[in-house]
Structures are given as structure tokens and as C-alpha cells.
Subunit: 134 residues, 4 copies
């Protein structure tokens, strides 16, 4: 079973740009929100993994396909799942849709490597294996 989670955010005024819709870069910040909440749903805090174990999820790759514009004050549902994970890397997949009307706004994925505080590659500690589905 792939871990999966949904969380909701409300589009902020500052996230729009003069095109009148959400600036494309913000969807990557929403993905970050999605994976932090997925971690919680999996039973741990990403914050603690950083603080207690010195393990960080460095972004190695990120992509997004924009389907429909997101607008100020829209409620957005971020659905996040782990697409692939092993002791070295993890790939998250995201679907962002409008809560009203269930319109898909964007889909995306991010690939991460586990690193230590010095930004050197490391392995996911055993205690997190089950939570990541490794």
C-alpha cells in the first residue's frame, strides 16, 4: 500500500501575480506542504527527522504540469503519495485540485535524496523504513 494523504490550503493573495492567477513557482511550495503532511499521516514529523536524526530530504528533481489556473481564495486540496522509495531516494507524486468543483489544477512529482547536515548523501534510518513503505 502506497502511503497517501490529502491536505487543504487556501490560496493567499501574495501567491497570485499580475496575471491574476497563482504564480507557477508556488505550486512547488504547496508540494512541500503536501509532503510534510504526508509524513505526519505516516506517523512521524519531518521536523523531527531533521532535528533528531539529522536526515534531510534534498530535492533532486521537481516537475509540475499546470492544468487549470488557481485563483486567490480558492481552497486547494493537495493529494500526496509516495510513488517510489528505497533507502537512498524517495519520489513523491502530487495532485492539486480545487475543493470547489474538483477541478484538477496541477499534477507534479519531486524526487529526493536523503542527505545529512553537510548535504552529503546518506541512507534512510531503519526506523523510518516502514513509514516510507521501504
Amino acid at each position: 500500500m502506497k502511503p497517501v494523504n490529502e491536505t487543504r490550503i487556501r490560496v493567499r493573495y501574495a501567491e497570485t501575480d499580475q496575471m491574476g492567477v497563482v504564480n507557477s513557482a508556488n505550486f512547488f511550495i504547496w508540494m512541500e506542504v503536501g509532503r510534510v503532511e504526508l509524513c505526519k499521516a505516516c506517523g512521524f514529523n519531518y521536523r523531527d527527522m531533521e532535528q533528531d536524526d539529522g536526515v534531510f530530504l534534498a530535492v533532486a528533481e521537481a516537475s509540475c504540469r499546470y492544468r487549470s489556473p488557481a485563483r486567490f481564495d480558492d481552497e486547494v486540496i493537495i493529494k500526496t503519495c509516495i510513488e517510489e522509495a528505497n533507502t537512498r531516494i524517495v519520489i513523491f507524486h502530487y495532485e492539486m485540485r480545487s475543493a470547489e468543483g474538483e477541478r484538477v489544477l496541477a499534477t507534479g512529482h519531486t524526487r529526493h535524496v536523503f542527505v545529512n547536515r553537510q548535504m552529503q548523501r546518506t541512507r534512510l534510518p531503519a526506523k523510518y523504513h516502514q513509514m516510507f513503505g521501504v
Copy 2:
């Protein structure tokens, strides 16, 4: 000949996150800076295309591969080129590297569709064809 341009930015403190390096979302803002400057190098202002012609470059797809972390106060060279363009879409390619040591930080691309103020698809006006290499 594909239009190509280089521009420079300095990493801002606010662009870092608690990992001590630039947050991954900011590279997409830098790509935006890169393509605005490429437009200028091609002989027109993106601002004017929006204002005078009501033509906008909506982002349909964006991706980035992170090679090496960017740090506060680094000078970053954003190299932007048009990879493909026709009257309907344009694809930009980007390489971001550190000015010091010429270390590649990230590469990426964005695919855009031309839209009008109502976010409906439109065609690139003829006067811009040559500049975009169409």
C-alpha cells in the same frame, strides 16, 4: 540560431530555507527572471507584450533538476534559450550556474502557451515571430 541570453542574480537571504541552501521553488522564479531578460535580448519587453498586445505566456509545464546547492550571496548566472517555438507554444531551457567556479546548480525547462487576458489560448502575434525564432 536559437535566441540565448545570460543574466545574473545574487542569492537573497529570504531565498534560503532552514536547510541552509536555496529553497527549490525559487529556481522557478529565477527561470522567470531568465526568460524576461531573454525577451529583452531578443528586442522586446515581455511587459509590453502583456500591456500592448494582451498576450501572456502561461506556464503549462515546468521542471528542474538540482545538481548542486545554491547558497546565500552566491552570484548565479541564468542562461536561458528558446528550445522550441511556434505560434502556439514556446519552450525555454535554462541552466543556472554559480559565477564563482562555474559550478552548475540546476537545469530546467518550462513550456508555455500563449493566452489572452481571459486565459484563453491564442496565437503569437506576427510581429513577435522573428524574435521568438518562429
Copy 3:
């Protein structure tokens, strides 16, 4: 009775900087979130006021006093109230505190003038007077 409202946000990873705490500029974005939610509590959508009436709340002045650092994943309560309002201007006051322990993170205020789409000063339409406590 001054209108007052509380809303909650969760600190995003991207909102931190390399000091390990939330970058000071983000508190102004949170204030923006606070006043949008206060408008809702007062019975109208700020979005509609912009769209339907062409009335915008331009920021004329903003200030913040930082009391205690906000950290990644903290839940923050934004308490917003209207300190003063007439048909020309409105002043909001904010208190941001940590949900856990009720620690005050920051206090601030913003002063706004009502403007139209052309950024020219205008008066608050009569239908909003009661909601703003004018």
C-alpha cells in the same frame, strides 16, 4: 464593537530561512491572510469586493514587532482586528502567537487606503460600512 477574528496557519518549510526561523517578511503575508479571513468573519469576501465593486485595499503602511521566533511546522494563530476605519482608510491590528504554549510571536499593524482599479483613491461603498464598523 470592533470586528475581530482568529485564523490558523501552519509554518511552511519555504517560509524559514537559513537562520532556522521564519523570515521576517513572511509575517506580512500572514497579516494579509488574517485580514482576508477577518473580512469573511465580517460577512463578505475580499475577493468579491475587488471583483464586483472594483475596490481594493492598498497598503499604505505596515509594521511588525517580532517578539519570539516562529519555527517550521509551528501552528500560528493570527488574531486580526480593525483598529480604525472610515470611508477613506482602514487600520488593521494583528497579533500572531504560537498555538502551542500561547507564546506571542509578533504584533503588527497595516494602514490601508481604498483605491479603484487604477490605483486612485476612492471611498468605501456604503454597503460595506457596517461590516467595517464605519
Copy 4:
């Protein structure tokens, strides 16, 4: 003689919001850019002060008065000076104006306390006294 410096930035698309002008929070990021560049003009890198001496400039207070809207692609001159400084605190003052026409966009100030890595108050090391005008 108060240390003073001018630096230039170009307004980014992502810095605008749907009001069609720069979102008010971004001026605080520009102030941050201004004080980093002022440090350089004074003969040291803020980055090094953090890394080598473990001294950080925590923001205790920030304020901004907005005079005239800043727009996408405007070149903005950030004039920064040290208004007051002692071994415990430093106050910076900023004036942001449009390079074209010399229109003042905003003025602001930030008050900082010197802190160590643990965010505890500390004193400015003697080697920086002259640079800060202490």
C-alpha cells in the same frame, strides 16, 4: 559619517500580485538585500559574520511606508543607511525609488538585535565596530 549605500534590483514577475503591482511584503525582502549590500560597502560580508563569528542580525522591528506602487520590470534603487548602532542593536533606514524618474516608492526601517546561533542576545564583536559606525 553614517555608512550609506545604493544597490539596484529589477522587479520580478513573481513579486507582483493580482493588484498588478508589487506585493507589500516584498519590500521587506528588498530591505534585506539593501542591508547585505551595505555591509559589503562597509567592508565585510554579512555571510562571513554569520559563518565565521556566529553573529546574526535578528529582526526585532520592521516598518514600511508605501508612497507609490512598484511595477513589474521597474528598476528599483534601494538606498540603505545605518541610522543608529551600538554593540547591542542596529537600526537601518531605507529608501526605495524607481530608477526611471526617481519616484520614491517606499521608505522603511528595521531594528535588529545581535544574536548567536541559539538566537540569544549577544554583542557585536569589536572587529565590526568601525564598520557599523559604533
